[in-house]
Amino acid sequence: MARLFRFVEKKRGERRTGSNLVGSFGEAAFCGSLFVLGTLLLGIIVGTQVVQPDPSQFKFGYGRWLIILVGASSVVLGGVGLIWTVLRLGTSIERRSAMARRAAESDFAHAAAPRPKNYPTLPPFDGLTNSPGIELAYRLPASQTPGWRLLATTIFAMLWLFLVFLLTVPVIRWHIAGRHEWLLSALLLPFWAVCYWSVRSFLQLLMLNSGMGQSTIEISDLPLIPGREYQAVVAQHGHVTIKSLEVALICEEEATFMQGTDIRTEVREVYRNTCAAWSNFRIEPPIPFTATCGIPVPANIMHSFQSPHNVVRWRLVVRGEPQNWPIFERGFPLVVYPGEATMHVEGESRAERSALPEPVVVSGASA
């Protein structure tokens, strides 16, 4: 039982009695079944009482309200449980705890992270340094949560399933009553096709997000200064055989154009350096694959930059090619400060510098 359903697993020190993959499936199956049962019950009520009600055939009396209550509760509990399971996929216990704490103590006054005082055009990095690492100074947050796609698929599958059941139950009832609505039955086929596709997509994504597991990176210091080398610890969780895994430092430019009715954003990679690569190994839960590597930052590079429509963005990217799974790529944002080499002019000696005044205004409007 502990293996199948995560909420009955036990924690023994750093180990858990259950499997994350199987536990996720078990939870999803339980919540999904609850949702389907509730949908079916509501579908029967709608089909017999709302759509061409025939009181003489189906008379529920007060029991009708009990069935509606049970059905609606199952739909809500099963749906919320399924969404919660999906949201928790790939998150560590520390992150879940941080998410819960953040939700509980939302500080609206400081909702916008202040930028570094002396570098107003650099993106803020408070969000990068508020998560301490275990082995190194900081644990980097992922730049995108792969779970949003899974969440969207889950919600779509649930809603479509609900709709299809509501439509199918009355049709079945008519067939049973001898009134064969063949045209209506035929029209339901594409609905069932979409239902099959959406549930299949949901299950595939669920497997992918459960089986692959999260990637984490810890780094020795932030922000990054050009000309220095930093240490990083990479951890890859999951239950797969990995053909290749690499960590690369990349720089991208992003430019957004908003003229006419077009909003056009273009992203261009301008720098890539593969810092480390590993191949042909297996990851068995609960122990993740862990490795340390150096992250050299070249001396003569452009620093991070952020303005309303233009961005120079640095990040570490973990790219993996697992066996029998699609290739995945996960980004971790970084902030790179201006380096000594680029702050000077070539051929000139360093002059003494007094304290620099703060820049006056940063505006997004064209002059």
Binding site: A255, M302, S307, P308, P338, T342, V345, S354, E358, V361
Partner: protein
């Protein structure tokens, strides 16, 4: 009616500056009646250029009205000084560039406006050499 003549220059031989360097510039206005001048704005700013919308950030700004001048005449040469900040550095990228400049804007009566700019470089970030770009449509073909 003759167009006003705006002169703007950076004092000294160099156009490339390091972070923390002092930038000195001078401007002067000619060929216009001083009574016609409503205001003069001088700014030292950075702006982006490329495939995105233009953004800008002002490091130094000065607006002068006739009342600010000794005899109400804003035309004589004026010198500006500022220490350059540590970011953003001048940058020539693949799809965006960051450029620094001094901008002089003259406001005359009846809504007339004249602008002149003088560019300079802050820092020494090497330009990005654009690789051969393969667009998504090319790949589909």
């Amino acid at each position: 009616m003759t167009e006003p003549l705006l002169s703007l220059c950076i004092v000294g031989p160099k156009k490339c500056f390091a972070v923390g360097d002092e930038l000195i510039c001078e401007y002067q206005i000619d060929a216009v009646d001083p009574a016609e001048i409503q205001a003069v704005e001088a700014s030292i700013l950075w702006h982006t250029q490329g495939k995105g919308e233009d953004d800008l950030g002002v490091h130094f700004f000065e607006r002068r009205l006739p009342a600010d001048a000794d005899d109400g005449d804003l035309r004589p040469m004026r010198r500006l000084k500022t220490r350059l900040p540590n970011s953003p550095l001048s940058y020539r990228g693949a799809i965006l560039s960051i450029e620094w400049c001094i901008r002089l804007r003259l406001f005359l009566r009846r809504g007339r406006e004249y602008v002149v700019e003088e560019g300079f470089t802050l820092g020494s970030v090497p330009a990005v050499l654009p690789a051969v770009v393969v667009h998504a449509q090319d790949e589909e073909q």
